[in-house]
């Protein structure tokens, strides 16, 4: 039995933020879909869950997690998975995504998406963890490429290769964050277009777009700006290769009025429609 619309996720959506609830519920602006950060709704009750359910009544929704610590060598937190499972039951998202990263070790949580060394050992470990989480939740996850600021010595494969192997071994999908790909590529001297060409194309179900911050010697991913021009260009390349994949505007810090997010989503929508017309 399902309580909510099964309308599918298509076109350009927006990341759901607390400061926009009132406007969304009051005027129900035309937004293709919303993505909620699951970790903000893992409490037992209260206003956040009430608002989330109210938004869900009118819009298709996906859930995006940051707390699973898939890459960690600690055991998976079963209580966390149970809470996430309970939220999935309540919200009936179209899908759930997490990051190719770790956030904790030795029971100490750093709450930042920390990089993995792309080695055979890490691949086996993370593949096992994704399978375990997917079994516990009863659904396939989308795994997102993180922004990264360092590369470990002795890495044995590229990030796209690592992701390709995860898809092959676990059946997970991929969430391609074009901004993260651009930030990592610039920080490590990778070719961003080649990065996208190397990804397992058919596994990519969702794209993220966001803004970074340029520092003197590196790009830092704040998700606190409009999408930068070179990221739009890379996005155009991505949907050329991948097709009109559902795309989300993410904005996590210094959150602007909903209007600004809708404006960014509108640009992504135009890209997607042009791409669709070319395909037709």
């Amino acid at each position: 039995m399902t309580r909510f619309t099964r309308k599918s996720i298509e076109g350009a959506g927006i990341g759901l933020r607390t400061c926009h609830y009132r406007e969304i519920l009051g005027s129900r602006p035309p937004v293709a879909w919303f993505e909620a950060v699951a970790d903000n709704y893992l409490g037992d009750g209260g206003m956040p869950l009430l608002h989330l359910e109210q938004v869900r009544e009118h819009y298709p929704m996906t859930l995006h997690g940051v707390g699973m610590s898939l890459g960690s060598t600690d055991p998976l937190d079963q209580a966390y998975l149970r809470r996430l499972g309970r939220l999935i039951g309540r919200i009936e998202p179209a899908w759930v995504s997490e990051h190719l990263a770790w956030i904790s070790v030795g029971g100490s949580y750093l709450h930042e998406l920390l990089p993995l060394p792309y080695t055979q050992e890490a691949l086996e470990h993370v593949a096992g963890r994704i399978s375990e989480a997917q079994d516990a939740l009863g659904l396939p996850l989308l795994i997102e490429n993180p922004s990264s600021y360092l590369v470990f010595r002795g890495e044995q494969m590229s990030e796209p290769e690592f992701l390709r192997e995860l898809v092959r071994r676990t059946g997970c999908g991929i969430l391609l964050d074009v901004n993260n790909a651009y930030v990592s590529a610039m920080n490590h001297g990778w070719d961003p277009s080649a990065y996208i060409n190397d990804l397992p194309a058919t596994a990519i179900r969702e794209i993220h777009l966001a803004g970074y911050e340029a520092h003197e010697n590196y790009l830092f991913d704040t998700h606190g700006h409009r999408v930068h021009p070179p990221v739009w260009d890379l996005y155009a390349h991505a949907i050329e290769v991948l097709g009109p994949v559902p795309t989300l505007i993410e904005w996590d810090t210094d959150i602007p009025p909903l209007e600004t997010l809708r404006d960014e989503a509108g640009k992504a929508q135009q890209h997607l429609e042009r791409r669709r017309r070319r395909a037709a």
Binding site: L50, G67, P117
Partner: protein, 257 residues
């Protein structure tokens, strides 16, 4: 190097007290540096990000404290807390539970003797905000329990409720420092101490003042007293229904169940 070893090394570097520690130097050896950015600098990007995330979490939970101390003082104090205190849960909202105790021992905050209690109040508020909506309570069912089993009933507070006693009028300090509070007003510390229950009635956040007897009962309930242990108190027949009607006491069960 094994994955677990790399993660511990990285963790210790990112959590180290200063940005020139032995842990950072050790971890840099596992990282590819570049001409424009030495290996150590790559780690420091993460170190700053982690400290920033933890301190931002405190800023969100403790806005009144921040307003009372000023942003600069608060940010320095929360960075100090974040450096010393690890997060032990995937839920960032669980971080900062011991911030009030930290403030109580924070030398430079002594000029605001009520600050730690204001932090306690803000933590109770934060906790209530995300707590379960209701507990199952059946007053009729409680009355129906046979007399001889009544003494073996254990009551429970509403799942969102926390009790807070302070020697300062913290509820008033809190109130006049809310963003929507328009008139500039001051609170006299001579108003004296308070006993509070901070909770959420459905979706309505509440800070209720308790009299001495209400506090006594709620505190006993919180500590797990049975009805039998409370029954010596002559005012229980009026006190208990009042606390139930207000919504503070919201569940019960027989300790035999």
């Amino acid at each position: 190097m094994r994955l677990g070893e790399i993660q511990r090394l990285f963790h210790d570097a990112v959590r180290s007290a200063d940005d020139d520690s032995g842990a950072i130097h050790e971890a840099s050896l596992a990282i590819v540096g570049s001409a424009s950015l030495p290996a150590r600098e790559h780690l420091l990007i993460y170190r700053r990000a982690v400290l920033g995330t933890l301190t931002r979490a405190l800023t969100e939970i403790y806005p009144v404290c921040r307003r009372l101390t000023g942003a600069e003082f608060f940010d320095a104090m929360s960075r100090d807390y974040a450096r010393r205190t690890a997060s032990r849960s995937p839920d960032l909202g669980a971080y900062g539970e011991c911030f009030a105790d930290f403030i109580a021992g924070f030398e430079a905050a002594r000029v605001l003797p009520y600050l730690a209690d204001v932090a306690r109040l803000e933590w109770c508020w934060h906790r209530a905000f995300h707590a379960a909506d209701r507990a199952p309570f059946d007053p009729a069912g409680l009355a129906a329990v046979e007399d001889e089993r009544q003494s073996r009933i254990r009551l429970a507070l509403h799942p969102s409720a926390s009790l807070l006693a302070s020697g300062y009028p913290v509820h008033r300090i809190w109130e006049v420092n809310q963003p929507e509070h328009e008139v500039v007003s001051s609170v006299s510390l001579d108003e004296g101490g308070v006993r509070l229950v901070v909770w959420r009635q459905q979706y309505d956040m509440r800070i209720d003042l308790l009299d001495e007897r209400e506090w006594w009962l709620l505190d006993a309930v919180r500590s797990g007293a049975t009805l039998g242990a409370l029954s010596d108190s002559p005012d229980l027949p009026t006190l208990l229904p009042r606390c139930i009607t207000r919504g503070w006491i919201a569940a019960w069960k027989s300790i035999d169940d």
